[in-house]
């Protein structure tokens, strides 16, 4: 029997437009997978010939969620080119804004996008609130929102939905799927946290707006420093930051991290989330300035899952190629020389499995030719996974004490072996471990800033752009979805060339000329889908990369479809 082709487009509940096509054999094992981005906006082309000081503002508009990441990258790439060192106050302020971004982003991703791949809401309805309330103490000394009466209330609320035949925010057809592993009580705990997180994340967003003016798209970074000097010099403002910071970090520690611990134990033996990762090379860059000189996370590369050695990054070995991407120039080029000239070749007509499980007429990508707007970045010819898992692994293998402690603690408490980190479960856990490291150490940044402001109030470094000179520079760092780099050349006082190599590019890029696949595609291959109408396993894998940039919204539209997890595949279950 020939393999069946399944298209999923749009993959909803992600930032941007993504199409996934997979081939499944007669045993429902995925034999081949293709990730295709179906939108190109051309910002790298648009930024050319503009004032370099405007580059950060323009690049910021790549994304309204990790909005700060591209803004900072654009500003710092120019600073690197012009050889400007911003004052310490500016660096620390940017670090605080970055921490706020990670706290918001990871929290929302786990609860409102990824969480329901792990938590079975209908099972929570069978829970005994008194028992669940006790259970919560197994994972933290100070549980949040899991008092018996809290849980009774949560249960009643969801019961009401269920009785109406609507699960409101939890409308999702996969309930009862056999790969769910939490007990009813554990599901109830997670459900209560899901609801609480909706409130907490709003405060997290304010942490950035406080120094940024607004969020999304803050506006207080400038080439040479930051502009929010009035906020920095206002003690009541700083106190407000601290208060909100503690509120958010308290929830992260005693709800998010506790739930990850719970899931880690419960899912330790579930094959669909503990299979070895498809791409075993990991790369990350140092990030999160803590004081005058130190950073929280390390730079390096892990090859073939070998944690005994961390390889340095040689930036000259980063290339992007476009064999299977809709651009004219196929050959691998270094980002300084990267070209971005579109060449759309379209899709072809074919029959694929439709919503009813029958063959339907549709368009399919040309897997032999070009099939995505994403390029294929490679390091020394190798595919790399980037993201929280890479950041945690590299720091761990580097012997970074702050990270080693957190990772070892997690492995010990869950009883998982080190190899378990190289899995979908490990990838999901790493996101929490990364943010745990941030809340355990982030106040050092804040304290350093306060101490420094007492003696130094500089927030800006002056500079000149010489129109007769040529400059080139880059930013490299790690943002919530992984390693990000922006590359710029400046000539005649304007931007001559600009390339952004973003985390999703590393993870979601198509095959390269040698047939080597990127992490999204390689991690789907070999995955067995138990029930083709409920491909929860696929969703867990795709979600574990955080491709979707979360809307942390509490939407219960009056039809009752909402923040469940999205459905992939043909017979996708519920109609909304």
């Amino acid at each position: 029997m020939a393999n069946k082709r399944i298209i999923v487009d749009p993959i909803t509940r992600i930032e941007g437009h993504l199409r996934i096509e997979v081939e499944i054999d007669e045993n429902n094992v995925i034999k081949n997978a293709f990730a295709s981005s179906t939108l190109w906006r051309g910002l790298e082309t648009i930024v050319k010939n503009r004032d370099p000081r405007d580059a950060g503002f323009l690049m910021q508009r790549i994304c309204g969620v990790c909005t700060f990441s591209h803004y900072r990258a654009g500003i710092e790439a120019v600073e690197d080119a012009l050889n400007i060192t911003p004052p310490l106050n500016a660096k620390l302020t940017r670090s605080l804004m970055n921490q706020a971004l990670f706290m918001h982003d990871h929290l929302v991703h786990f609860y409102h996008l990824h969480g329901l791949d792990w938590v079975d809401i209908t099972s929570a309805l069978k829970a005994d609130p008194a028992k669940a309330s006790k259970e919560a103490f197994k994972y933290t000394k100070y549980p949040i929102a899991t008092g018996e009466n809290d849980l009774v209330k949560v249960k009643d609320r969801v019961k009401e939905f269920a009785a109406r035949g609507e699960l409101g925010p939890f409308a999702n057809a996969y309930w009862g799927h056999e790969t769910f592993r939490l007990t009813p009580e554990q599901n109830l705990i997670a459900l209560s946290h899901y609801l609480k997180a909706l409130e907490v994340q709003r405060t997290a967003a304010q942490l950035m707006a406080m120094f940024g003016g607004k969020q999304p798209h803050p506006q207080s970074l400038t080439v040479g420093g930051v502009t929010c000097v009035m906020d920095l010099l206002d003690p009541s403002r700083m106190a407000e930051y601290l208060t909100k910071y503690k509120e958010v970090s308290n929830f992260i520690e005693h709800a998010y991290c506790a739930d990850i611990l719970m899931a880690g134990q419960a899912y330790a033996k579930e094959p669909s989330v503990t299979a070895k990762a498809g791409t075993m090379n990991f790369m990350s860059h140092k990030e999160m300035q803590l004081n005058r000189t130190e950073f929280l996370f390390d730079t390096g590369i892990i090859l073939n899952g070998d944690l005994s050695k961390v390889h340095p990054i040689n930036e000259d070995l980063i290339t992007e190629e476009a064999t299977h991407s809709w651009y004219k120039d196929d050959e691998p080029l270094h980002p300084y020389d990267g070209k971005t000239n579109p060449n759309y070749t379209g899709m072809s007509e074919a029959m694929t499995i439709g919503a009813q499980g029958k063959e339907v007429h549709s368009k399919v990508i040309d897997e032999k030719g070009k099939y995505s707007w994403i390029k294929s970045p490679r390091y020394d010819g190798k595919a790399m996974e980037v993201g929280p898992l890479a950041s945690v692994l590299v720091s761990y293998a580097s012997g970074n004490k702050k990270i080693v402690k957190i990772v070892d603690e997690f492995l010990e408490q869950t009883g998982l072996p080190t190899e378990a980190l190289f899995t979908t479960l490990g990838r999901t856990a790493a996101r929490a471990l990364q943010v745990k490291a941030i809340i355990e150490n982030g106040l050092e940044t804040f304290d350093t800033l306060i101490e420094n402001l007492k003696v130094d109030q500089e927030t800006y470094t002056t500079y000149k752009i010489d129109k007769d000179k040529e400059y080139k520079g880059r930013f490299i760092g790690d943002v919530p979805r992984g390693m990000l780099s922006h590359w710029i050349r400046i000539k005649n006082g304007v931007v001559e060339n600009y390339q952004a190599v973003v985390p999703s590019t590393w993870n979601a890029g198509p095959e390269d000329s040698t047939g080597l696949k990127g992490p999204y595609e390689s991690n789907l291959i070999g995955l067995k889908v138990k029930d083709i109408t409920q491909p929860l396993e696929i969703i867990r894998v795709i979600h574990s990369f955080d491709p979707c940039i979360a809307c942390a919204v509490h939407v219960m539209d009056t039809k009752g479809n909402e923040l469940g997890s999205y459905k992939v595949d043909p017979t996708y279950g519920t109609s909304c």
């Binding site: 487009d9 648009i46 790549i62 009056t558 909304c576």
Partner: protein
């Protein structure tokens, strides 16, 4: 005024007769469930009334309109965008009434939020349009790759272009709102050289489109636009760029918290200087407040947490057409530029209040001259600081 009051009352009565989309929950119930009492709700309604430039006695009508907002199905389309506009709404610091109302309107289709994907999502869009023909409100986020370039965005198993989807959705909509600068005017992807041929929504449909620009617009402007439609059932007073006058009728400069410093000739000469620490006017470091029509200076962002000028950076004019091309470089005053000025780019000149091109040019020159002269009048020597 009483005539208007009666007219609006009648409109709401008619709306009330429409079937609710969900019989089990009403917005007042939801508010109570969320611990928002009637008094808080009325407070919000009077603030919204003021924002819509209606007399205070209209507050009960606005409250009623909010309660009826679940009678209107909404279809939200994503084109070439960054999701910032969706985010703007959804990230208020506490479940404010604005965001709650957004949560409980009947969002029939929204790719970032909906549970369905793939074929089923495609089906949902077609079904929603069919089922609510002529009754739904269409909100569009993102610029639209157009014509020859439409293939830069395809959606769904059939590989339809974003343009096809948007056009079809416009056909049977009761009202069309372009949310954000991208769908209003093309936005960042339409900046020179516009490699994807992106245009604003009004360029691909003959139906009237109300523009709610901003990058992103504040949640207040989005919700206010919706409330206005519920109250009047007709389009609000618009300026030359089809922006509702109640929100985009004044310049940032008009209500700016640093306006006093402008008038006194106190300017930040360079980021991080003494003036910056004192909150002086940002005109000389490129603030486009005098040329930008929006209400940020009044409403701020993230539940009044802050706004760009409070954070010490000038306005970049993000609610003006083609601001990427006409307002840059963002950190230089307009009058210092020799090319691509707001006037050359037709920026803020052709606005609601029909200021002639000459007049605003004069104003701009005047502002620049003011900045220079004021500086002579108030020499700020270093040892004074």
């Amino acid at each position: 005024m009483s005539k208007l009051f009666n007219k609006l009352s009648k409109r709401l009565e008619n709306l009330e007769k429409l079937p609710k989309l969900d019989d089990n929950k009403s917005i007042p119930d939801v508010l109570i469930e969320k611990g928002i009492n009637r008094r808080d709700f009325m407070k919000w309604a009077s603030a919204m009334t003021a924002m819509l430039a209606l007399p205070g006695s209209f507050s009960p009508l606005v409250a009623k309109a909010a309660e009826l907002s679940d009678r209107l199905p909404i279809i939200w389309l994503h084109m070439a965008e960054c999701t910032g506009c969706s985010e703007s709404l959804l990230r208020t610091d506490a479940p404010t009434i604005d965001s709650l109302i957004f949560d409980y309107i009947s969002l029939e289709y929204h790719e970032t939020l909906m549970a369905a994907a793939g074929w089923q999502a495609e089906g949902n869009l077609e079904n929603a349009i069919e089922k609510h023909k002529g009754k739904y409100i269409l909100m569009v986020e993102g610029g639209i790759p157009h014509g020859e370039s439409a293939h830069f965005l395809t959606i769904g198993g059939h590989g339809k272009t974003g343009e096809e989807n948007a056009k079809a959705a416009c056909e049977d909509a009761a009202a069309i709102f372009a949310i954000g600068t991208c769908s209003s005017f093309g936005g960042v992807q339409a900046a020179i050289p516009n490699p994807t041929g992106a245009v604003g929504l009004s360029k691909i449909t003959n139906k009237p489109v109300i523009n709610v620009p901003g990058c992103p617009p504040s949640e207040k402007n989005i919700v206010g636009t919706l409330m206005h439609y519920i109250l009047y059932g007709s389009l609000p007073a618009l300026d030359a760029y089809n922006r509702p006058k109640w929100a985009y009728g004044m310049r940032i400069h008009d209500l700016c918290e640093r306006r006093g410093h402008f008038d006194a000739g106190e300017f930040v000469e360079e980021f991080g200087d003494e003036g910056a620490k004192k909150g002086y006017c940002l005109y000389k470091v490129g603030c486009k407040g005098p040329y930008t029509f929006n209400n940020c200076s009044k409403n701020k962002f993230n539940s009044h947490m802050s706004w760009p000028i409070q954070a010490g950076h000038g306005c970049i004019g993000c609610s003006e057409p083609d601001f990427w091309d006409t307002m840059g470089p963002f950190e230089e005053p307009v009058a210092d530029k020799l090319y691509n000025t707001v006037f050359g780019g037709g920026g803020a000149d052709a606005t609601a209040d029909k200021i002639g091109i000459g007049l605003l040019s004069v104003t701009a020159v005047g502002i620049a001259a003011h900045a220079v002269i004021a500086n002579f009048k108030n020499p700020k020597s270093d040892d004074e600081e």
